[in-house]
């Protein structure tokens, strides 16, 4: 009977054997060549990967903006009102010919009739929305996968350091850098286990309710002025909605497991979400009131004038709102000290009790992606988004050459800054998690409803008054406001330096083993 199931096993063809042995040999060869490199120089590889990705990101923006300019100019020539004149799929026209792009790339000095270079041909598809969407989509999808994997690894390293141990050290060589991918492979290969009494459909569906919203949140999350998959005018609300929908997965997962601990986890998540979501939203409304827009792109753009223009330092209320938001965002990601839904010591593993393997991994992907999104929101709403602390007009003297543009792109703004800030927030989240005990449910509710909620209400009201006063154009007030802003900025700066100082101190005094106190394990003679 089995011959029908797997026919090719019946008549093995020589080519199969050849192909398979070739693949194995290739893999072995790559492994043999790569392993020493990978294990010996992983630091440099990682560093160069970072540099390379920075370069790619920068070049991508630069080239795309050239093509954009070209399209706009051409569209103006043609007289089309719609800047997106060449359409999404562009069925009617083939867009700008490569030669035009080449001309633009070469600048004004280009000679007419010169044959377009390879780059022009490569860039030709970029002018179509669909192409760009595909590129951006690939980038987001890749990022969405990279972030959880490496944040998990990083978290384990950070946790190890905090706990005076090393964390993963073996897999992949250098500091166990391949630990997370290896874990991922293990999880994928694990038995797909569904308890008999579980509601199997919902049990299977629940992880997707976690992963899809957290992936969708990236759609509206800008990494830079031009690094937005979709520029949504209600991006903030959209991302908050996505974070809110994730709760559904926890409740469903908890319910579908048909395990009392899981149900407790789900219920706790629902309770907690009811409590934290309002202060979180209201804390985010504070910068929204300052700026007057829900578009994250716009909110990021108004903070381009250096450190003191960042919204957290605009007025005292926003500064406090920043802290409030950070606390609420911990609850939103189910991170300690708000990790009640999966509280290990109380609920075994909460809603995750019955999950294992790939589904469990999906939950974790969602959680860590949400952590990044939450950190990204904090960055954009309070800490200047993708802008560097240096005011952007300082770069006016650099000129407009392609290199100057590139330098500006790296110095003054760009996804690098955004990601760095997000990483900072991620670190804060990790730090808090490995330091603090867990809060009890009634304390969570108390903190969110009776402390944070009134606080954010006061903040919102105060900001409204502040903005109102600022818009009245009173000169005295402007002076006061700017002084307050400077003071806040300096306080923030002090916090930042303090953070760096603590980190530096810790790094300098780092101690892996206790030293001479380790006693020879053999009994004495």
């Amino acid at each position: 009977m089995s011959q029908f199931a797997v026919p090719w096993r019946e008549k093995p063809e020589p080519s199969h054997g050849f192909v398979s042995s070739f693949i194995v040999a290739l893999a072995k060869g790559i492994y043999a060549i790569a392993t020493p490199i990978v294990t010996r120089f992983p630091g440099s590889i990682l560093l160069s990967a970072v540099v390379a990705s920075c370069f790619l990101v920068w070049a991508h923006a630069l080239l795309f903006s050239y093509v954009d300019t070209a399209v706009l100019e051409r569209a103006a020539e043609v007289g089309a009102a719609n800047p997106n004149a060449f359409g999404y799929f562009s069925p009617s026209t083939w867009g700008l010919p490569p030669s035009v792009i080449g001309t633009l790339l070469a600048g004004d000095a280009a000679v007419e009739g010169q044959s377009p270079g390879l780059l022009s041909y490569l860039l030709w598809p970029v002018q179509f929305g669909f192409t760009r969407d595909m590129i951006a989509f690939g980038a987001i999808f890749a990022w969405f996968n990279i972030v959880p994997v490496y944040v998990i690894w990083w978290e384990r390293k950070v946790a190890g350091r905090i706990q005076s141990r090393l964390g993963p050290m073996r897999v992949g060589g250098w500091h166990g850098w391949a630990q997370s991918p290896a874990d991922g492979i293990k999880l994928v290969l694990k038995e797909d286990f569904i308890p008999d009494a579980a509601d199997s459909i919902l049990f299977r569906a629940a992880p997707y309710f976690a992963i899809i919203p957290s992936a969708l949140a990236f759609v509206a999350l800008p990494f830079g002025v031009t690094y937005i998959f979709r520029e949504v005018d209600v991006a903030l609300v959209f991302i908050l909605a996505m974070l809110g929908i994730e709760v559904m997965s926890v409740i469903l997962g908890g319910w579908a497991s048909n395990n009392k601990w899981s149900v407790y986890g789900g219920m706790r998540e629902a309770c907690q979400m009811v409590a934290y979501e309002i202060p979180m939203g209201m804390a985010l409304l504070v910068p929204v009131v300052c700026v007057g827009s829900l578009s994250l792109k716009y909110i990021g753009e108004v903070q381009a004038d250096g450190w003191f223009s960042w919204l957290a330092f605009r007025n005292p209320f926003a500064f406090v709102a920043f802290v409030t938001y950070f606390i609420a965002s911990l609850a939103s990601c189910k991170r300690a000290p708000f990790d009640l839904p999966e509280a290990e010591s109380e609920l075994v593993a909460g809603f995750l009790t019955e999950y294992s393997g790939f589904r469990w991994a999906l939950f974790f992907f969602a959680e860590y992606a949400a952590m990044f999104v939450v950190g990204g929101l904090a960055t954009i709403m309070f800490l200047g988004g993708w802008n560097s602390p240096i005011p952007s007009d300082w770069g006016a003297g650099l000129g407009e050459s392609i290199w100057a543009k590139g330098l500006k792109g790296i110095l003054f703004s760009g996804p690098i800054w955004f990601i760095l800030k997000c990483v900072f927030f991620l670190f804060l989240q990790l730090w808090v998690r490995w330091t603090l005990p867990r809060i009890r449910l009634d304390q969570v509710l108390y903190a969110c409803v009776q402390v944070l909620l009134p606080l954010t209400m006061v903040l919102l009201f105060g900001t409204t008054l502040w903005v109102w006063a600022s818009e009245s154009g009173n000169a005295t007030w402007d002076v006061i406001a700017s002084i307050v802003s400077k003071v806040l900025g300096i306080v923030g700066l002090a916090f930042g330096f303090g953070f760096v100082a603590i980190a530096g101190y810790g790094f300098y005094h780092r101690r892996r083993l206790v030293g001479n106190l380790v006693i020879d394990p053999l009994p004495g003679s």
């Binding site: 109380e346 005990p437 449910l441 206790v514 006693i519 009994p523 004495g524």
Partner: protein, 399 residues
Amino acid sequence: MAETTFESTPDLLLDHDRVEQGDLQTEELLVNMGPQHPSTHGVLRIVLRTDGEMVLEAEPHIGYLHRCAEKIGESVQPYQYIPYTDRMDYIAGMNNNQAFAIAIERLCGVEVPERAKRIRVIMAELNRIASHLVALGTYGLDMGAFTPFTWCFREREMILDLFEAACGARLTYSYITVGGVHDDLPDGWVERCEEFLDFFEPKIVDYNNLLSFNHIFVKRTATVGVITAEDALAFGLTGAALRATGVRWDLRKVTPYDGYEDYDFDIPIGQDGGIDGVPRGVVTGDCWSRYYVRILEMTQSVRIMRQALKRLEEGPIEAKKVKGIKLPADEVYVEIENPRGQLGFYVQGDGSAIPARVKARGPSFCNLAITSHTCRDILLADVPAIIGSLDVVLGEVDR
């Protein structure tokens, strides 16, 4: 009309009869906490009757680790039984050995040499610190703080290294035997031990900073699981759990053994918050008091050890002729201060070398009894807090 249909009801959350009979309210739930649960410290099973997050009733079920430890004691000679005692409370093996050894010594009238007494005290206090470190670390885990656990275990590993150097074992020592200790300390051990004490003492401040005075931790444990002194005495609580209620009772002071009367140390007790660095909101006899009494006891243990190390003199480490000793036809009951409370051994001899009856009074077993009394109308998250603060070892509960 269609009726309510139960389609494939493998595990109804509530069984319908109990609802009908009014035994369970509609919103109530019976939950099994354990025997496989991260925060029950072994194989304790607690049946909770909950209303949402509220625990209305908690009933501990024990016996998953029963090994007939007492019965074995009636079929082997006392010195053969020593290795069984440290399987009872495997976190504090030294103290268990000591208790049984003292019981037999009292029964047979064996005089223990001075050096052996000092070593016993050093080992017992060292093990007390190790045991408390486990209690602190796991209590942190119960509260959701992961880091204290590894920090405590870091220091505990050093103690275990010391034990290993002395007796070759890291968990089940069987070091203290009837009539003394079975091996002398290796060279340089005393210096290493002092080095360790110097290293360890400042670490207590670290624990305090990391966990004891952490605001969240205090909120989680203060006023939770308050046990009054009357209740504690009525339920036969001993050890840190008793002292946290404000009763200054420690057998090392009350009925000194192995030369404890020679040492100068205090007995810390629990007190209300607001003074002496105790955070506000703390009430005598709550979880935080129990936790903090252990911290203070570690300091006292260090103090005792320093004195003992200083007075350690050369001499014999074991009384003569203890192996195969005949037990007189008499009975003895000895209690000593275990890290968890009062560990008592009742031994009855009948003239042979094998005891006629061995009975242990386990502190964890007795302390655990108050669980159902304390875990009433509390939140679910308080259950691990209370159980953890009682610091029970299931190996000793079930024996």
